[in-house]
Amino acid sequence: MNRVRALFWRVVALAILAAGAYATWVRFTQGLGSATHLGDRYPWGLWIGFDILCGVGLAAGGFAITTAVYILHLERLRPIVRPTILTAFLGYVLVICALMVDLGKPWNIWRAIVWWNPHSVMFEVAWCVMLYTTVLALEFSPILFERLKWPRAVKVVKAVVVPLVGLGFILSTLHQSSLGSLYLILPTKLHPLWYSPLLPILFWLSAIAAGLAMVIFESGMSARAFGRALELDILQGVSKVMVLFLGIFLMTRFLDLGARGSLNAAFRFSGPGSYEAGMFWLEVALLALPMALVAIPRVRRNPQALFACSAIVVGGFLVNRLNVSTTGLDASSGYRYFPSWMEVAVTLSVVVVGLNVFRFAMRFLPVYVSGGHEVAKEDSRSAVYAQP
């Protein structure tokens, strides 16, 4: 039965990759117009809204957990540092790959290093991507060096790991918030349910919540895939911080909407504006419901329930980012954007590649360290392999 399921998923993954490869080929031989539903009224679609905004946000577990362990000395979180860094690093590399497909002239990307415009949020975003990916690569490198048995290289990186993590916190905070700041320039275009001067802060708060949800979610995934026990005591601690950040996020969100008098836009259940109101409540429900559930000790002590709740938080986060980047712009653009199948295929391909590289790394690199001692553990290679 397991084998049939594994085969099924393998076929699905290959079909997605084939479709994604074809879509990428069309994009680079016939242009963005042929491959996407983008246009002058809708210059940013799924590739920005999902691949970039969500991809970067879900990688936020990386800086949250490393800061907790290396700066705040919360030693008990150490066992999940490496898988979290792996996710974040992988996330950023995939974001850059996706960006290359979306940019009109990707070969000009290096020009952001030479031509500076410090008044542009996109300039800040570009620099944060470059610098934080470098930081993540360095944070990730000891895992590779251990596998290659280069103890001196490991020692060099470990000597600078604390300032590196501190730098990672600053760059990540700037990056996560700047993705929200991108939309500050659209006061007349973005729907009042999502436009707010607090966008950078809201993006930072929700990214931490979603990043932590992702840590729990992927621990559950890899526990299933590699037959390891879930680090439930650690993940419960993580889930409490997730609840805290979700609470602050939702409270800030509603206070802000109330203060700006935009809350009435959430109660339009028919006619124009009802679609936006519906998407708003979907977003709120997908974040508030798991928050309330995980706040109950009995729920978060149950691995299945904790896993499911974190998956819902990730879902709610995706809805939030897609709301800001698409739902909230539909009305002003006069165009109800829905991605083309090629846009969807490229995005799903990015997810499939991410999952598989993660699985590959988990199998062949010392990502899980035993009992807090940072030695390579070989057991992952002999672990029972199930489908992803």
Partner: protein, 254 residues
């Protein structure tokens, strides 16, 4: 600073401005109803109190352009004489300018493999050679006139004062989003012309720069806070180790 004044009460809808624009920029004939990558100005009609109103749309050439402020590489810039110009050479194609323009003007070559952002150039070449904008030169009805921005603002104010019943009491572009080099007078509300009537008087770039300008402070304060927290929690762990003779912290390793 050069500017254009377009008064839709004078426009007769002949379309010579569009024709002159095509000739000037080497663009093909088209009957597309809106701006596109091969049409930098367009003549449209809307219903007014006394029949149809003809109006133009084109790049507004903002005093402090939103497009220029959002471009990561500075491929767009405001020139001293008025035109907002684009440098395709260094453009990455992120399309933030298209997203951010409050007037929804810039267009993209969606089907090109080396796509450019396309929009009105304010006939910068003609201006540099001492001429005036091709559309203003072609206009037989005096609906589009070119001149110094201050002079055109005075002219517009005079028209509003002389015939207040004819116009919406506003010079569009005098203050909107920090002011523009294309000024408009209209007999119908500007929102009917696709121009947002709720733009702040300060440039939109102020909205993002308010955040961006805090980065240096944040980096300094953040570094000190990080270092402080590291020292504090490290010290706490050391003290706990010394007092407890190496007893593990809650859930931690010894």
């Amino acid at each position: 600073m050069r500017a254009l004044l377009f008064d839709n009460t004078k426009c007769i809808g002949c379309g010579l401005c569009m024709q002159a624009c095509r000739t000037q920029n080497g663009l093909p004939e088209t009957d597309a109803p809106d701006l596109n990558d091969k049409q930098f100005t367009v003549l449209k009609t809307t219903a007014g109190k006394h029949g149809e109103v003809n109006y133009r749309r084109l790049c507004m050439h903002c005093q402090e352009p939103t497009c220029a402020s959002v471009c990561p590489v500075g491929a767009l810039h405001k020139t001293a004489t008025g035109p907002v110009l684009y440098n395709a050479e260094i453009c990455l194609g992120c399309r933030y300018c298209i997203q951010a323009c409050p007037f929804s003007v810039p267009r993209y070559e969606w089907n090109s493999l080396v796509p450019r952002v396309r929009k009105c150039t304010f006939c910068a070449d003609r201006l540099a050679a001492g001429g005036i904008n091709a559309c203003a030169e072609a206009c037989p009805a005096g609906a589009t006139v070119a001149g110094e921005r201050e002079a055109l603002l005075r002219e517009a104010r005079a028209r509003l004062a002389a015939e207040p019943d004819k116009y919406v009491p506003k010079i569009y572009g005098e203050h909107d989003a920090g002011g523009t080099s294309v000024l408009m007078l209209s007999s119908v509300p500007f929102s009917q012309l696709g121009l947002p009537d709720n733009l702040p008087a300060e440039p939109l770039s102020a909205l993002t720069f308010r955040v961006l300008s805090k980065i240096p402070t944040f980096v300094c304060a953040g570094s000190f806070t990080m270092a402080g927290l590291w020292w504090l929690t490290n010290r706490k762990a050391e003290v706990a180790r010394a007092e407890g003779g190496g007893a593990p912290r809650k859930g931690g390793r010894s």
